[in-house]
């Protein structure tokens, strides 16, 4: 019987959104357009238009060993070209940010190849070959994974995730990498590590409360969906904990 991913329990809109993001068979809603150059600017790893720096020669020019795994797993374009490994790091507000750290990692593992995600409380980083990264980053910014006020791209200083929102609705950022312009458009004036950009990058207006509440993947009893109310979700966590406890204590079948 073929393995069929279940993506997680729960009857709430949060649980459903989590499954939607993870499931690669579902095409997520595209909410905005950004150019390839916009992505390169925000990432800050190379100048737009410059060649990809390499860590090794292209695989085709190397003497690859006769390895069965290499025959099974095709290298990503970035790996084939010998690109460096670089990163994008997101900060997600706990006030209904559309994606959240573990959720991002799970989603990326289901949808991307050749990645190394890292998950913390205030940030989530994914590292991979540079040209692969730019493609993944574009998808992560353009789709419902991103909301301009509640999602932020930051290499450092991430503690906005748990802080109250600023009066203009933006998540706190010590470095104020983005600002809300006259038209209410969120504009990046610094790259993810905080270096000023030669040209500002606009990521559109913040989405309204109805949208963020309907698309979020975090439970929140004050501004969103109450965790306690999703009884199925709680039940599964307790079940997993109980089974782990039992087989850790007495690792034999009864």
């Amino acid at each position: 019987m073929a393995y069929k991913p279940q993506y997680g329990p729960g009857t709430s809109v949060v649980a459903e959104n989590r499954r939607r993001q993870m499931n690669p068979d579902i095409e997520l809603e595209k909410v905005r357009d950004v150019t390839d150059e916009d992505v390169v600017l925000i990432l800050g790893h190379r100048a737009p238009g410059s060649a990809y720096p390499t860590a090794h020669p292209p695989l085709a020019e190397q003497q690859e060993p006769d390895c069965p795994i290499r025959k099974i797993v095709e290298a990503t374009p970035g790996a084939k070209a010998g690109d460096r490994v670089r990163y994008i790091q997101f900060v997600d507000s706990m006030y209904n940010g559309p994606s959240q750290p573990y959720q991002r990692t799970y989603t990326e593992c289901y949808r991307f190849r050749g990645i190394d995600p890292g998950t913390l409380s205030g940030r989530q980083i994914v590292e991979c070959r540079e040209r692969d990264l730019e493609g993944y980053a574009k998808w992560l910014i353009e789709t419902e994974m991103f909301e301009p006020a509640l999602t932020s791209i930051r290499g450092a200083t991430v503690h906005g995730h748990s802080l109250r929102l600023a009066e203009d609705g933006l998540m706190f950022d010590m470095l104020q990498r983005c600002v809300v312009g006259d038209e209410g458009v969120v504009t990046y004036v610094k790259d993810q590590i905080g270096e000023p950009l030669d040209r500002a990058v606009s990521l559109g207006k913040p989405l309204d409360d109805t949208w963020v509440k309907a698309h979020t993947t975090i439970f929140h009893s004050l501004v969103g969906s109450s965790y306690r109310d999703d009884e199925e979700y709680i039940e599964y966590i307790v079940r997993i904990h109980s089974l782990r406890t039992k087989y850790g204590f007495m690792p034999v079948e009864e």
């Binding site: 890292g118 503690h159 965790y227 109980s242 406890t245």
Partner: protein, 568 residues
Amino acid sequence: MAKIERSQKLFLDALKEKFEGQDPESVKTTFYNFGGLKQSPRKREFMKAARGIEMERGISMYDPEHCHLGGLPMGQRQLMTYEVSTTGVFVEGDDLHFVNNAAMQQFWDDIRRTVVVGMDLAHATLQKRLGKEVTPETINEYLHILNHAMPGAAVVQEHMVETHPGLVDDCYCKVFTGDDAMADDIEPQFLINIDKLFPAEQAEALKAQVGKSMYQAIHIPTIVSRTCDGGTTSRWSAMQIGMSFIAAYRMCAGEAAVADLSFAAKHAGVSQMASILPARRARGPNEPGGIKFGVFSDIIQANRKYPNDPARASLEVVGAGTMLFDQIWLGSYMSGGVGFTQYATAAYTDNILDEYTYYGMDYLKDKYGFDYSNPDPATTVAPTQDVVNDLATEVNLNAMEQYEGYPTMMEDHFGGSQRAGVMAAACGLTCSIGTGNSNAGLNGWYLSMLMHKEGWSRLGFFGYDLQDQCGSANSLSMEPDRGLMGELRGPNYPNYAMNVGHQGEYAAIVGGAHYGRGDAFCFDPLIKICFADPSLKFDFAEPRREFAKGAIREFKPAGERSLIIPAR
């Protein structure tokens, strides 16, 4: 699980003080208008001090406005003060770094410089081998000599160098016994009086454990253990004990029986506060990584002072434990710098963990009829998986809802590791206090971690990925290499050795199991009695209050060197 009403919010006063004039339940605020670092009096003090030092030594030093992230501004949001929980004392975060807090230093000094040494072996040697008479009078004389010798004074040879009493005034030795008649004959200055220091039931239980034996509570000079290390304590102590026996009982200084006394004082009769560590964390005895959680819960004396409040007693262990294990052990012995303090203080400031824990106590009473204010082994709840699941689920959900309902509190605990440690501690304490079982408490901790992670799709830093997501499986195991009873686990337990924000709370969970039963001690009655001594520099019944005193610079530590350095 079923939410219960609890009108009292212990953290509200702190939030109102910290976020003055702001609605603690509002989701929005203003940023970028606080004046950066200069909003903090302590940061201003640091900067001013650094300028003077730079002028004097000609080498640059503290310069946060230039050095923080390449000159990028810190202090764009409010730099908060913190209330040390239950004390009403608000302090700057900087004042809770152990380098800036003399009480924290003395807390660890007082543990590291302590050993308990039995007298029975020595007395048997004196009586049976040497035919010496041992009486209360000879013991008192011996103790008089020992309190002369232990700080670093000579008793046998002439023309010996000695230490200045003003530098080692914290060094002394007292004894204790379970034999009331013998205790009556010991000079009060040398006696740890169990009856006076402990509630009656605890005193009886402790004396029954000690029996007719007699033990010495030895505290070598702070300045010695600081200059050397924890492994010094038993060696320094044993040398002075041996010399004092020679002097008190007129022994031959070179006879072979001295070796028996030395062996007893150094090895056979000594209780270290901590065991040695393996090579990868190599430390001698009496260093923090080797303190078993059961021992640590006995070092802290809050259950002696608050026998009818196991939550309070446990929370004092949390404060002391996070300070020692997070700030000093993991934060400095094993790592370095400042981040660990921010993790640790979350568990003992602003009454947040206190509120979550007392919610658990109320829930225990409401649902299971367990009256935590009357600890008794007969009233604890059976530690079944269902009970642990229920307690931890409810306490954890309540904690998450409090953070959600009070955005200023979420901002207070701005890091996920802070929140994870605090919520899991409340769950673990509720489970251990309610069931009287330390492993049940640890199990509750791990359910909290899983539930937290799934609810908010985040947890702590990378380390939580390992320790807290596989902890369910080892929390009840007793098999070698898999598990151990909570009392015998410690900071060097394999799965606990690498992660800030856990070890102090684990110690409290272990202690809570006994405080919830009304036990007189958790693991070692000798250590419980030893640290009840009011002559110690640090009051181990009130560690959080002592830390607050240290933060406001009112704590007087030992280890003074002004006698031997130029006046400033």
